[in-house]
Symmetry: C2
Subunit: 293 residues, 2 copies
Amino acid sequence: MNDNIKTKINEYKEAVNKKLDEYLKIQYPEEIWESMRYSVLSGGKRIRPVMALETCNVLSGNYEKALPAACAIEMLHCQSLIHDDLPCMDNDDYRRGKLTNHKVFGESTAVLAGDALLSFAPQMIIQHTKCEDSIKLKILEEFLISAGAEKLIAGQVVDIASEGKQINKETLDFIHANKTGALFKLSIRTGAILGGAGEKTLSALTEFSEKLGLAFQISDDILDETATLDTLGKTPHKDKAAGKVTYLSFYGMDEAKKRLAFLCENACDILKSNNIDSEVLRQIAMSINERVR
Amino acid sequence: MNDNIKTKINEYKEAVNKKLDEYLKIQYPEEIWESMRYSVLSGGKRIRPVMALETCNVLSGNYEKALPAACAIEMLHCQSLIHDDLPCMDNDDYRRGKLTNHKVFGESTAVLAGDALLSFAPQMIIQHTKCEDSIKLKILEEFLISAGAEKLIAGQVVDIASEGKQINKETLDFIHANKTGALFKLSIRTGAILGGAGEKTLSALTEFSEKLGLAFQISDDILDETATLDTLGKTPHKDKAAGKVTYLSFYGMDEAKKRLAFLCENACDILKSNNIDSEVLRQIAMSINERVR
């Protein structure tokens, strides 16, 4: 990734971090806000909000309009991680190189901090997005659907139910399209809608986001097999330990890497053939491929 | 409560139950929708949605407009119960006379069913409420604030942190105003806003809802002490077992009953002096007093 693009991405990340810090100011009772802040302000890659901001920017020349929604999507992502890590779910001790939320604040606060983020995130969209009411309701609706039992949670439920079982490729695709794909798609579509995308551009960007979400999941599956706690920031080899079927189970390492590379190139082609001139989105696609090299 | 009023309340309850059943249709993966349905369609009193519908009806002559929001508030209430009952929280086996959600579906599904309801509820408001966009955003904002760390969850957090401690009256008031009061207030205000309430009426109804929320909590505290699993539908004597300070700790049984009666009369006076001619709201207030007699 070249330096200009890195600078641009860092600008987005800093804008998101600053805004999240502002939104999540400590109130009484302090413990719940500290717990929310702990997981949200823990230095993630911010890939979802970065994609939302860049998509809005490339279409409208301005990213500020998408900032509240981008922060909301990151809060939703963090919420899903807090609850995913609970003892009754994945029972994980580390996340982003730090102790998980319940390890620091206890289980009951971790449950409630996740719950609180789930309503605080769309609240921030309502209170801070500067756009027409009809557009605001449209992005809110997509946000809530993506967060819920039709998307993100559907993916998690099938994922948990599939542990230790031989599932078929369709089920694995369903898990990934919803567990990872839903928020990638939401990020890009939210940025596109706020950026004023027409029907054709919105549909192209939706397709781009689907390729990218799948690519990201394949790279995650590969990293779970090859990385260490240090490089990954979370416990590696979890999939195998949990008896989970992954892309590697179907394709093996070499073929998985080939498919990953193909998806990322394919995603870039969609941008090109639709005249979406975003070097940031292109390089994000390429960097997902490079994660595992 | 006279028969006309009972019939009216039953009409509201049936409308709510029918709509909730419609909204929560089973989709893939079935388990999560079954878990959501189990807790939402478990025959609660529906006092919150009934208040929302009646408030809208008394102001506009029509309750259908408030039906999606009333259902959303009931789903939010059920969500809070599912998570409240978890082993890491109150660890309760019974609710509304049935096994709690996690006892039937397991802890991970119970966590996710609660999460799913948290986004599904406002989604239903967006998709089904027939009103101006600006009004829809207003009731959504109040919904999300009430659900979150500034209200409902703030009350729960302070409640948990206070177990086994000598707390003062202000802290107890904070717990109750947020843990119970927030959704009572939300119900009445949402009905009022959708019913087209003016400033003065909205403010009177807000005050009415505050009295009622507090009265309901006092009656709950009394019932926790006096009732059985059979009459209560949930485990009694939980407060004492958890070392919780309640209204009874401050006032004793007799004084608590006196204060309860006073609050309910006071609530009715607010209706009368503001010409809010709702026999249903009046009788709900009186019935909260009668719960403990």
